[in-house]
Amino acid sequence: MVRFHKVNGVQIQFTAEEETLRDAEELSWNNGAFDRSMEELRIKRNNLIAQTDYLALSDQTMTAEMTTYRQALRDITNGLTTVEDVEAVVWPEKPEV
């Protein structure tokens, strides 16, 4: 694939060296797709867990449903090996507090 820089509105074709470097950069990016999707999943999972952390304080009583919900969030990364697996994740429903 031919690539271009646009400099002051004018297209300039990549040199062969630039094409090689860019191919390597894109390959690296593509190879990191699963790690990126897992990172996004963990960010969302951690945020959802944090939203119910206050229920784990010593002056609170956590319901069995909430305990199950939080454990399901912790386990949500289990068995995921592909980007498609991550995209197909079904998030547990948060129980009423």
């Binding site: 820089h5 646009k6 002051n8 509105g9 297209q11 860019r22 894109e26 593509n30 960010i43 945020n47």
Partner: protein, 209 residues
């Protein structure tokens, strides 16, 4: 003799009688604005499947200590690729690895904060795939670059980018602050990505005085 000022009361009369002051006509302003900032449009780059978009030392000169880049409805060929600004003090021959930045990203209900040092480019946002019919998103925003023409190391900038998804709803917000630790004069700016192309949309660069 032509009048250069309106006598007291004349404006009210003329506003009623437009045979003296035609309120529907176009008038050229020939005076000089003083005491106010001016934005001078220096260049407009229209993306057309470009891997990078650049402004060289005929645009980025030492005339201004403040440049403003306006991104309007940029679309990308790849979803989730990183979009960067890279500055150079040798007209694009190299990009010094002395940029540092931090970024706030709000996406999917969650803030993410990242920080990097010793970078040759600064990540300003991530693309949303504009060519996928089911994910026809766009990115717009503004980036300010300060003191690029200075001789000290305090060259800095910040950007705010909003990303809308295929439904036109906000998808992600990126706020980035960065600096370049280099005494050279910035005379080249590159906007790049680590995958895919800038499909369409515009980047305008203004000099601010």
């Amino acid at each position: 003799m032509a009048l250069t000022t309106l006598p007291t009361g004349a404006l009210a009369d003329d506003a009623v009688d437009n045979t003296k002051l035609d309120l529907a006509a176009n008038y050229a302003f020939t005076g000089t604005v003083t005491g106010a900032s001016q934005f001078t449009l220096l260049s407009t780059a229209t993306a057309s499947n470009d891997s990078t978009i650049n402004f060289n030392n005929t645009i980025i000169t030492n005339t201004y200590d403040h440049y403003m880049f306006v991104f309007n409805n940029l679309r990308f060929s790849i979803d989730g690729a990183d979009i960067y600004i890279c500055t150079s003090v040798d007209n694009g021959s190299s990009f010094p690895a002395s940029h540092s930045y931090y970024q706030n990203l709000f996406y999917d209900g969650t803030y993410r904060i990242s920080q990097q040092t010793s970078q040759s480019c600064v990540r300003i946002f991530a693309s949303v795939d504009g060519t996928n019919a089911s994910n026809n998103g766009m990115n717009s925003g503004v980036l300010h670059l300060y003191n690029g023409n200075g001789s000290n190391t305090h060259k800095s900038g910040h950007s705010t980018i909003v990303q809308s998804n295929q439904s036109g709803n906000v998808s992600a917000n990126f706020d980035t602050k960065f600096s370049l630790n280099n005494t050279g004069t910035i005379n080249y700016v590159r906007f790049s990505t680590n995958n895919g192309n800038y499909v369409d949309g515009t980047i305008k660069v203004y000099g601010v005085s």
